[in-house]
């Protein structure tokens, strides 16, 4: 057991914080929100130069060869800085899926372009029916079909809540190519050029102010060569990337939560009302104390999940725990920070609090909310073995013993 970050991780953290404080200030975030691209091309170029876009790609694809724990360190800073942009879409759901399942050709063509900041990918999974809830992130929810047509496939249907669709060069479309008893069997991933005929994109207005879209695929033709992974076998690699994505959302919430805690404690200590710092009130202290709890709980559950992924160990339980806790904890953390700040966080334009709060809603919902991941946890628990039975002879000591208040040894004890 070792809870230390490596020196490299510490360096990444520090340099990311410094860079983002400078380059990703509140104004930029608000400008991106007000704009229609969902990201800042300028900032995107800068982080490409820093090597962040290729952070987890192997060096042969112009990456830095770092792992998912390192990525989580970066994401913590993304969360703190509310970094806007298609990183999760492009690098994780796009790039890491291609890295996992793509052909050598796909990898060597696309990954370096992603790393250089020259290609943006958006993953299109969720659909109108599935967006209501539990099936959004499960293969059951995928009904948009891709039908073979010679060397091509024709994709037809609507994908909803597609992040970063407007700025994407390429869609990674999750489509159904076969139906059967196992819903995961029959899902195929297609790389679709965003400029293909038949694609139309409508941004949705979300409370987070991020860039989620409706993408209509109207008989869009895509070459068989653009399949990522096996025909009908797309779910497994996608699921793997989505798990990484979920953990990165946790890291993002962790970073945001840390900042909210700092802001709240600072405000509690310095804001004067009734001639006293408001932090003198236990009602205010309580918010800070529980903020601490919510943030602390998020930290190691996030890094444990990241570590499990990095080690290639089974991680379903850990990812679900991290995202289930992280999402709820972040919701509470935002609320508590608002309560500490009273009217200050109540304004729309002034201060970062409402921004954190609104962004938080996307982090919570994206790739599965608390209810979704709690059900995943319950599924894991179903598989737990029965408790171990000791090997000693049965003694009959614990059968039908009534629940008395006073232990029997008391009767024989010398009570003076």
């Amino acid at each position: 057991m070792d809870f230390n970050f490596t020196e490299e991780q510490e360096m990444l953290k520090t340099s990311a914080r410094d860079f983002l404080e400078e380059e990703c200030a509140e104004k930029l975030i608000r400008d991106v929100e007000a704009g229609d691209q969902g990201y800042s091309p300028d900032l995107w170029k800068k982080i490409a130069e820093l090597g962040w876009l290729g952070l987890v790609f192997p060096e042969q694809y112009e990456g830095a060869g770092m792992n998912v724990i390192d990525l989580a360190v970066l994401y913590e800073e993304f969360g703190r800085a509310m970094f806007p942009g298609p990183y999760l879409s492009t690098v994780i759901l796009g790039g890491m899926t291609i890295l996992e399942a793509g052909t050598e050709e796909q990898k060597s063509e696309i990954l370096p372009r992603i790393a250089r900041g020259e290609q943006i990918v958006a993953m299109a999974l969720t659909e109108p029916e599935s967006s209501w809830g539990m099936q959004a992130w499960d293969p059951e929810g995928v009904t948009v079909a891709a039908v073979a047509d010679g060397d091509d496939y024709i994709i037809d249907g609507i994908k909803l809540f597609v992040h970063d669709a407007v700025c994407a060069d390429t869609f990674l479309v999750v489509a159904r190519t076969k139906s059967g008893a196992d819903p995961a069997d029959g899902i195929t991933l297609f790389l679709v050029d965003a400029k293909s005929a038949g694609i139309s994109i409508t941004p949705l207005r979300t409370v987070a102010g991020d860039m989620q879209c409706e993408v209509i695929f109207d008989k869009v033709k895509v070459s068989r060569q653009n399949i990522v992974g096996a025909l009908n076998g797309g779910w497994a690699p996608l699921d793997k990337s989505m798990k990484v994505g979920a953990v990165m959302l946790c890291a993002q919430m962790l970073g945001a939560g840390e900042k909210l805690l700092e802001l709240s404690v600072d405000y509690a200590r310095t804001r004067i009302q009734f001639d006293m710092p408001i932090g003198i009130n236990q009602y205010i202290q309580e918010h800070c104390v529980f903020l601490l709890r919510d943030v602390n709980g998020a930290r190691w559950s996030t890094y444990l999940a990241a570590w499990k992924i990095a080690e290639g160990e089974p991680c379903d339980f850990e990812v679900a725990v991290a995202k289930a806790w992280g999402s709820d904890a972040h919701e509470r953390a935002c609320w508590r920070a608002h309560q500490v700040h009273g009217g200050v966080g109540y304004t729309v334009n002034d201060g970062v609090l409402p921004l954190y709060s609104r962004r938080g809603k996307t982090y919570q919902l994206y790739l599965g909310d608390t209810a979704y991941h709690k059900e995943k946890i319950a599924k894991e628990l179903e598989g737990w073995p029965a408790p171990q039975v000791p090997r000693g002879k049965p003694l009959g000591l614990w059968e039908g013993i009534p629940e008395n208040w006073i232990p029997e040894w008391w009767d024989t004890y010398d009570k003076g």
């Binding site: 809830g133 409370v207 409706e214 919701e331 608002h338 009217g343």
Partner: protein, 406 residues
């Protein structure tokens, strides 16, 4: 004990209900000053004038003041129906907040000048109390009013002033004396909203639309002082009493329930009405319970108030606090039960239930209007239950000790 309304009250209820049924368009949606269009605003101003002409805005006020002279309980009925229909009166603050103390402390001249405009729905008042350093600590007013011949000259700032429409008058607390305790040097002024030197800037919040108001050598005639000089804080307390009591909450919640149930009944993802979803049923039941309790406690308060000569001041009541505390939970339940659709704002493609899930979630982030949860709890524990608290006289000394310690 009797939970029935009198026949007259039921008749009055029908009358008010008919007023709204006749005057509201069939495609009416009862919500939202936020993001109001000009057409919506004009619609409400027109309807407000119509209601004012009938005395429905201020049913408890005397006929001379533009009211109907109704009893407390009947006022409650009018308020209840008005809330049911979610009438977004731009003049609400004049009606509910400024009017009552004007009745109590105003001169005859002030009353005849100001009350009819409120009652008829012509004038819009802002209650301009909050300042950057006088939020929960309402007595820490630093907007300064200095005597100057027949006028007071005001300098300073108000903030977070709810602006439900184009304001005509400001109902304002200003400091007229430097004194300890601080609340003994504050006075109330009735100010023309467009007096020279008054200026405004937008301060939109997650909830209602609010503004900053700046006072730069604003001249206010002495006859615009309300009540006694330096007694404004105490007069204003009367305002708070009124602001915090209502029979409308339950009815407003009822209309919201009806609409929500209707939405859940008709929205059928995968062919199954959302109304069958256990999380939805849980949310609805929670809201129904709270609606019922708000309704009961609102009427208990109104009834108690109507018997105030006999019963004195009402027992402490924490229902409002409870509802504030659970509002975040309810908003979360609502948005959670909508999956990814929950995050869509009104006006977005695919937005469900008019984006109210996202809207109410966002508003629930902050529960400070009419006092934060924390201040509510402090007031209830102290004044309500008589629990001990640290006398304010120690505050300065304690603060010094804390600062010394670092």
């Amino acid at each position: 004990m009797d939970f029935r309304f009198t026949e007259e009250q039921e008749k009055l209820r029908t009358e008010i209900d008919d007023f709204f049924l006749d005057n509201l368009p069939s495609d009416y949606r009862p919500r939202g000053q936020r993001g109001q269009t000009m057409e919506q605003y004009k619609f409400w101003m027109d309807l407000q004038r119509k209601a004012g002409a009938k005395g429905y805005l201020t049913p408890g006020w005397s006929k001379e003041s533009g009211g109907l002279g109704l009893s407390d309980m009947e006022q409650g009925v009018v308020m209840e129906e008005t809330s049911y229909w979610g009438a977004a009166w731009p003049g609400s603050q004049g009606i509910r907040v400024c009017g009552p103390p004007l009745h109590v402390f105003g001169t005859e001249e002030q009353k005849s000048k100001f009350l009819p405009g409120i009652a008829k729905g012509e004038d819009i008042w802002y209650q301009a109390f909050t300042e950057p350093d006088a939020g929960s600590d309402e007595a820490n007013v630093s907007l300064r009013a200095v005597e100057d011949g027949d006028n007071y000259i005001l300098n300073g700032q108000k903030t977070f002033i709810t602006a439900p429409g184009q304001g005509d008058y400001l109902y304002t607390l200003a400091r007229t004396q430097d004194v300890t305790p601080k609340h003994r040097g504050i006075s109330l002024f009735l100010i023309d909203a467009h007096s020279p030197g008054v200026s405004y800037s937008a301060l939109p919040t997650l909830g209602v639309f609010t503004v900053d108001i700046f006072f730069d050598n604003v001249k206010v005639p002495k006859d615009r002082l309300l009540g006694e000089l330096n007694r404004g804080f105490y007069h204003a307390m009367v305002t708070f009493e009124f602001e915090r009591s209502t029979t409308g909450g339950g009815a407003g919640a009822r209309r919201g329930m009806e609409e929500l149930i209707d939405f859940y009944r008709n929205e059928k993802p995968n062919g199954k009405p959302l109304l069958e979803n256990p999380a939805v049923r849980d949310l609805l039941a929670d809201r129904a319970i709270e609606m019922e309790l708000v309704w009961l406690q609102g009427w208990f308060a109104a009834w108690h108030f109507s018997q105030r000569d006999k019963l004195g001041s009402p027992p402490p009541e924490a229902g409002g606090l409870h509802n504030k505390v659970v509002s975040a939970d309810r908003a979360k339940q609502l948005i959670d039960a909508m999956g990814l659709y929950g995050q869509l704002r009104r006006g977005s493609k695919y937005c469900k239930y008019e984006g109210r899930a996202a809207g109410s979630w966002e508003v629930s982030r902050s529960t400070h209007p009419a006092g934060t949860i924390e201040v509510n709890k402090i007031v209830l524990g102290g004044r309500g239950l008589g629990l001990p608290r640290i006398p304010a006289k120690f505050n300065k000394e304690i603060r010094a000790a804390i600062e010394e310690r670092g």
